[in-house]
């Protein structure tokens, strides 16, 4: 199987999706001849031309708003927002039309479209380039929110998102874009939206994470298992909304302890929602407070300090140990 980076895997997904379905098209800033600033759309303009790979003016609200119209007209736009921080410019169109059009029209106009955006920290970028605001979208009825963690699931989830009849926010952890390669088969592959992945089964404690933080968690879990002898269960959420509550609740009902790790801000973040659900579905099994390992409620800092701001493996290990020690 070919080894691909996440960027290459995403590019492969776009290519195969466009090949399968003429209604799939790409819209965004610099996605054409330039292939996107991260090169995710590289070569697609050359292959599919101006009609299907559209460079847009520099206006994100315009990208999403016109894509909604194209989706109403039966196309499947895969839009790129250059950095997720700039999706704020499109918030109105996302919330008022993209997320709601199906409901507003009682099913007449489903919006089958994808908003791709690189998100998260770790690449030494200036301000507004490192946000993790997936909680905004998870709080917005009508959207789905998908976040892959590696090349193979990125490709399979993007395929599934493009096929999905509903609007999908597809956040790509840019710190993973070129971080490693993985086997990604040539044959078309999808993963169901709404399903979490138990990366490592375990019995002592459940760690739940997603996106680039999965790398941090993997590192922490390796240490916890190998050095500290803790049998951690590690879950990769993959889909933030819908969320695979059943898998999470089943896991924590077994382990009784849980640590949640993400880059997004703490207050009203994804971890809060997971805690609320575990409180509802696994309350009687909880042996310790569920801990949140997240970025603080601060704007993402200037990049000289970002490595301290972002959770690292030591933070996860400490949280796991404290949770285990709790009585």
């Amino acid at each position: 199987m070919p080894q691909r980076t996440m960027v290459e895997a995403l590019n492969h997904s776009l290519d195969e999706s466009m090949g399968r379905d003429d209604s799939v098209c790409i819209m965004g800033e610099d996605v054409g001849i330039n292939g996107g600033v991260f090169r995710v759309t590289k070569g697609l303009h050359e292959k599919y031309g101006d009609r299907r790979v559209m460079d847009t003016p520099l206006a994100e609200c315009g990208i999403i708003g016109t894509a909604v119209g194209m989706a109403i007209h039966g196309l499947k736009p895969v839009t790129e927002i250059q950095f997720s921080g700039f999706s704020m410019q499109a918030f109105d169109q996302i919330e008022q039309n993209m997320a709601r059009m199906r409901n507003r029209t009682q099913g007449r106009f489903p919006i089958s479209m994808v908003m791709r955006a690189p998100f998260g920290g770790g690449i030494r970028a200036v301000e507004h380039h490192s946000e993790s605001r997936e909680a905004y979208w998870a709080h917005t009825p009508g959207l789905k929110v998908v976040i892959p963690s590696g090349p193979r699931n990125a490709r399979a989830l993007l395929n599934a998102s493009i096929e999905d009849p509903d609007p999908v926010i597809f956040y790509e952890p840019k710190a993973v874009y070129r971080a490693f390669r993985e086997d990604v088969p040539d044959e078309y592959e999808t993963l169901p939206l709404g399903k979490a992945n138990i990366v490592r089964p375990g019995s002592d404690l459940t760690v739940i994470s997603y996106g680039a933080m999965m790398r941090v968690c993997n590192e922490a879990v390796d240490d916890l298992v190998d050095i500290h002898g803790v049998d951690v269960e590690l879950i990769d959420l993959l889909s933030i909304s819908p969320m695979d509550t059943a898998t999470l609740a089943e896991s924590v009902s077994r382990t009784g302890r849980c640590v949640i790790v993400h880059e997004g801000h703490q207050s009203c973040g994804i971890a809060a929602e997971i805690i609320a659900r575990l409180n509802e579905h696994a309350f009687e099994y909880l042996c310790a407070p569920i801990r949140r390992v997240t970025c603080p409620d601060l704007p993402f800092p200037y990049f000289q300090t970002e490595k301290h701001f972002l959770p690292d493996a030591d933070d996860v290990i400490a949280a796991v140990q404290e949770t285990l020690a709790w009585e």
Binding site: G69, R104, T105
Partner: protein, 361 residues
């Protein structure tokens, strides 16, 4: 500094029928009688509908809505030239256009009385739902037009918005996207002078809004919005250009909001009656009726009959609405996603259980 700023000028207003129903013969499109009579009926029905709705609102049968009085010609003119394959994107004040496009009176009553089955456009009508969020429908309308280009379809989109909407950034982006993509879209900016209490002079530093389109490279014209012939001609020509691949047109339809902003509004707080009075004489319906009479298309008696028939049609529809309209609280989870995810399935069950407990149908 001696460079001359670009001259904003003020472009002439396209008019066929003047206030006194005098015709500029060189421009008269000479539509056939059948067409003219249909147009007239559309105008009258719009007004009957609107007035009945106001009564119903005052009696507590309707939610807040935005009366259309005086803007009927703008409304009709912007959709008369459209085919069923063309698309239309209404504002919340676009009753006239919606009725012409095939929205039934009952549907519109249901919509404004808060029944969700009234919101979606009728099954065979290529319209967007109206937009309450000012200007938010304009980008999707342009997107549909871009979709027509994508599929090489020779159709067009007309999108309706107000003078107030012209200030929204999203509308500016829509103009630009349409222009750079040569999208087959006709922007109808219905300048009725007011955005609630805000007059055009506080909305824009320009004395006309057609320059706004021009600033994005879109051929832009001003049209007398109270002249149904001028409106129809202008939109017809713009639609033709659009379908022929010549791109967007920006039409500023100059009219006036004769009535309340909405039924929640009291214009006496912020505008003098003197501002309204001159527009009484510019009534788009009276003007057109003079034209029809003068040209022997309709007699006074025939005109009166149209008014009666329209009133009767509206009342019949109101009665059907009264008989028909039922709140359907059990349906609110039906259209959020293609398939309901487990968490929403659980929320739905809890919600339905609650309805059961409360004995709600």
């Amino acid at each position: 500094m001696d460079t001359t700023p670009i001259d904003l000028g003020s472009i002439d207003v396209l008019q066929v029928l003047d206030e006194h129903a005098n015709v500029d013969a060189s421009r008269d499109p000479n539509y056939e009688r059948g067409q003219l009579v249909k147009m007239h009926r559309g105008l009258v029905l719009t007004r009957s509908f609107d007035q009945r709705m106001l009564t119903m609102q005052r009696q507590g049968e309707m939610g807040t809505f935005a009366p259309n009085l005086g803007q009927e010609a703008c409304q009709l003119g912007q959709v008369i030239p459209l085919t069923a394959d063309d698309w239309y994107s209404p504002s919340y004040r676009s009753f006239g256009a919606q009725l012409w496009r095939g929205w039934s009176i009952e549907r519109l009553y249901k919509l404004w009385a808060g029944y969700h089955e009234g919101f979606p456009p009728p099954p065979d009508v290529n319209d967007l739902p109206f937009s309450i969020v000012i200007g938010s429908h304009v980008l999707p309308a342009v997107g549909i037009a871009m979709g027509m280009n994508y599929r090489s379809e020779p159709n067009c989109v007309v999108v309706n918005f107000g003078d107030g909407a012209s200030s929204q950034g999203a509308v500016a982006e829509a103009l630009n996207y349409a222009a750079v993509n040569t999208a087959p879209v006709v922007f109808v900016c219905e300048n009725n002078g007011w955005a609630i209490s805000t007059p055009l002079s506080k909305q824009s530093a320009t004395n006309n809004l057609a320059v706004r389109g021009a600033g994005f490279g879109i051929p832009s014209i001003r049209v007398d919005g109270n002249d149904i012939l001028a409106m129809t001609m202008a939109v017809d020509e713009a639609a033709r250009r659009a379908r022929a691949g010549e791109g967007p047109t920006f039409i500023e339809a100059v009219t006036f909001r004769m009535s309340l902003h909405t039924t929640a509004d009291d214009p006496t707080v912020y505008r003098e009656q003197e501002l309204v009075d001159p527009w009484e004489a510019r009534c788009p319906i009276v003007r057109f009726e003079h034209y029809l009479q003068r040209n022997g298309h309709l007699s006074q008696t025939e005109i009166a009959r149209v008014h009666e028939e329209c009133d009767a049609e509206v009342i019949a529809a109101r009665d059907r609405f009264r008989a028909d309209a039922v709140a359907r609280p059990r349906e609110i989870f039906d259209h959020i996603y293609g398939e309901l995810p487990p968490e929403l399935e659980a929320q739905k069950q809890a919600y339905l259980d609650r309805l059961d407990q409360k004995g709600v149908e």
